[in-house]
């Protein structure tokens, strides 16, 4: 094995479990690559080589003893720096919480650790998970492994950059309007925003509890399915976590057959501002699905301007409530755009907020009926333009910033209000050499079906064989 860091998560786990390699060898390779590439990518806020290697040694010792092991045994991961670990600083990508040390560990981190994962450190992110491009005025902008002059997508910027750059085998992000799927799209990765409440949010920094989701970013579909399978499900620490049974996601990725699958393609909204090269990538990916026996069905989606406004009305007061005291006392400690995006919640009324909550079932049901009455999944772009540069999108709170944010998130944020699962999947490269991506969205709790379809596509195009050229 020449380059351990380029294996898939599943292959790495199997190599450790079968003692072809040790967890220490694997972790040393990841640490070395992280230390080499951190100056280029700036994807870690805190890299912890000593802690990771100590965990790797423990994993090797457990294996030597013949202990029962989990499906991530000895595999290095890292996570957005808002997944709390008791006694460890979680900055939330901010100045305000740069020294915050939680006294709890998030359920997601506990479940991944129970499966044997090695923790490499805290990853860069947009400040307080606000920002779809990956800029960070406090910890430095995170950089795209395919071209460091370009954005990683946000807000889980370090998650996209570190997994895409082959520094770790998988990473957790969070998604309130696209923050898992956008970095996955920008960095050539698979990223899952599960059904609302599918994954516990205990011990996760909140932004908008009606819209927040925890989701994994990985290089392959099967890797992603394995991670989601470990973290999904009810949690006594988070009563809002759904108690619906957790499907065997990883099994759905094995020998996936999609003959007869009905794929909806929207006539309106999602392609309204798509560039020609993005349209071409979407068409190419649909041809792959057709070659596998899928049927393409045209649909008209319901009013998305309304959905986006209602999402804003939910997010605004929830985020402004969490940040209210700091907006009053420490406004200068926010990045300009982050503060500008938190302030609107201060003027939204309680009646509008509750109406936005109460309309959610009605509007989501209307969308499901329109799209999934005659289709199994919806296929749409993740980002409808080529991935932009860091410089051209670093606009702070200048006049045009709301339109820029809207252009980046228009295909992702509806699904947070609708509560539906959506999986970002690599779809080749646009004319500027940066990754393109499509989303597969489905009915509530249909993650297994999304993984099955994506795995069938991946078996043909083998997107994870393409790695960025980083040295």
């Amino acid at each position: 094995m020449t380059d351990l860091t380029h294996m898939s998560l599943v292959d790495a786990a199997e190599a450790v479990a079968s003692k072809q390699i040790s967890s220490r060898e694997l972790t040393e390779a990841c640490v070395a690559r992280a230390e080499t590439l951190q100056p280029t990518l700036n994807c870690f806020i805190s890299l912890d080589p000593e802690g990771a290697l100590a965990e790797a040694d423990q994993a090797d010792a457990a294996l030597a003893r013949g202990d029962a092991i989990g499906t991530l045994h000895g595999v290095p991961l890292a996570h957005k720096d808002m997944y709390y670990r008791k006694g460890k600083v979680s900055t939330c990508g901010s100045e305000i919480r740069k020294d915050f040390t939680p006294d709890i560990t998030s359920t997601v981190i506990t479940r991944l650790a129970d499966a044997g994962a090695v923790h490499m450190g805290g990853l860069n992110m947009s400040e307080f998970a606000v920002g779809p491009f990956g800029h960070n005025d406090h910890w430095g902008h995170c950089r795209n492994p395919w071209n460091p002059e370009h954005v990683t997508g946000g807000s889980s910027s370090g998650s996209g950059s570190s997994v895409g750059g082959r520094l770790v085998f998988g990473a957790m992000g969070s998604d309130t309007g696209g923050s898992v799927r956008l970095p996955a799209a920008c960095c050539g990765l698979v990223g899952m925003k599960p059904t609302q409440t599918r994954v516990s949010r205990f011990g996760l920094m909140g932004l908008s509890f009606s819209l927040d989701n925890a989701g994994p970013l990985t290089r392959t579909v099967r890797d992603n399915a394995r991670m989601l399978g470990l973290i999904a499900g009810a949690d006594p620490m988070d009563p809002t976590a759904a108690s619906a049974p957790v499907d065997d996601y990883e099994a759905a990725t094995q020998n996936p057959a999609i003959k007869g699958l009905r794929i909806a393609v929207p006539k309106n909204y999602y392609y309204d501002s798509a560039t020609s090269d993005v349209r071409a990538m979407m068409t190419d990916s649909l041809k792959v699905f057709e070659s596998l026996g899928a049927e393409i069905v045209e649909v008209a989606v319901t009013d998305h301007d309304e959905i986006n406004t209602l999402a804003t009305v939910l997010r605004g007061p929830e985020a402004a409530t969490l940040h209210g005291a700091w907006l009053r006392d420490r406004p200068q400690d926010y990045g300009a755009q982050v503060r500008a995006r938190l302030e609107p919640g201060l003027v939204m009324t309680g009646v509008h907020y509750v109406k936005a909550l109460q309309l959610r079932a009605q509007i989501s049901k209307r969308f499901i009926d329109a799209v999934f009455a005659n289709a199994d999944v919806l296929h749409i772009p993740t980002v409808s333009m080529p991935i932009p540069s860091i410089e051209e999108t670093d606009v702070k709170d200048s006049q045009g910033f709301p339109a820029l944010v809207e252009s980046m998130t228009r295909c992702t944020r509806p699904f947070n209000y609708l509560g539906l699962p959506s999986l970002a999947v690599p779809a080749g490269f646009t004319d500027n050499g940066l990754p393109a991506s499509f989303q597969l969205a489905g009915r509530p709790f249909s993650e297994a079906g999304l993984y099955r379809a994506a795995a069938a596509y991946e078996a043909v195009v083998k997107f994870s064989d393409h790695a960025p050229n980083l040295t």
Binding site: P331, A340, L346, Q358, I368
Partner: protein, 69 residues
């Protein structure tokens, strides 16, 4: 013509009174536009009764609309 009811100064005064947050003028202008956008959206639902709705409607809908594949 400036909206006599909702304008930069009234938004600034409101936010200062409600939350003790001092908005910059550009931020206040954005919020005026946002408030008007929200008014348009919710006016569509002004006649709809919400009397029989409850927060659990959404979670129930998710469960009902899920379909094992």
């Amino acid at each position: 013509m400036a909206d006599p009811f909702m304008n930069r100064q009234s938004i600034k005064d409101l936010v200062l009174r409600w939350h003790e947050v001092d908005l910059e003028e550009g931020a206040a202008d954005r919020l005026v536009a946002l408030v008007n956008l929200h008014a348009e959206t919710f006016n569509e639902y002004a006649k709809q009764s919400f009397f029989d709705t409850e927060p659990s409607n959404f979670d129930r809908m998710l469960a009902e609309e899920s379909r094992n594949d």
